[in-house]
């Protein structure tokens, strides 16, 4: 079992490192990640959303739908815990 796990882990690691080869260097300002979509956030955020914090602007405006999902995740987790744990306490009390 451990061997299988090790093999899996090393295969995954090798795969990830294999991919690293073609990645842009760390901190390269011209990498696609920094040059395709994100410049617009940096330039427009203030103007469009009147928020100096771009992270907030993106979080709560551009990608607010993700944030809605995020709150739903927390809500799900809360209800999930209630669902799973609530009965037992009552059961013990009885």
């Amino acid at each position: 079992m451990k061997l299988v796990a090790l093999i899996t882990v090393f295969m995954t690691g090798a795969l990830l490192i294999y991919g690293v080869e073609d990645m842009p260097g760390w901190g390269d300002p011209n990498s696609p990640a920094s040059s395709h979509v994100s410049p617009r956030y940096i330039q427009e955020a203030m103007e469009k959303t009147a928020t100096p914090n771009m992270v907030s602007a993106v979080l709560a405006d551009y990608r607010s739908y993700d944030t809605l999902g995020e709150t739903a995740v927390i809500f799900t987790a809360g209800i999930a815990c209630i669902l799973m744990l609530r009965k037992k306490r009552k059961g013990e009390g009885e």
């Binding site: 899996t8 882990v9 090393f10 760390w26 940096i42 771009m54």
Partner: protein
Amino acid sequence: MLDYVISKYNFWIYVILMMIGLYAMIGKRNLIKKLIGMNIFQSAVILFYVSISVKAGATVPILSGHSYGHGELIEVAKYLNPLPHVLMLTAIVVSIATTGVALATLILIYRRYNTLEEDEILKIRRDTGV
């Protein structure tokens, strides 16, 4: 070669972290250790994302006081990429939620079997014929 390694050291670190986490998740027999592995794994992914956003010589993506003026062109290279941060805020929340649910399941398991060792649980289940 050394340059190559150094220029991408963020990736090496996250890959190693991820491998540790993944190994714990698959290889460990204790459920709590699996859970810890899961957290390490998730943190590795988060680190990976955050490291994407880095630009050499840039600062946090918050406009400082003097650039509040209207119409003034904001220099892109001066600020970090905000998007990965946003994504990771979501991912962090997700990972916390997952951990919470996983812990709740562990509580259920512990209540039922009085142990969190996978082998012991399997043994109990086999003995009770379930």
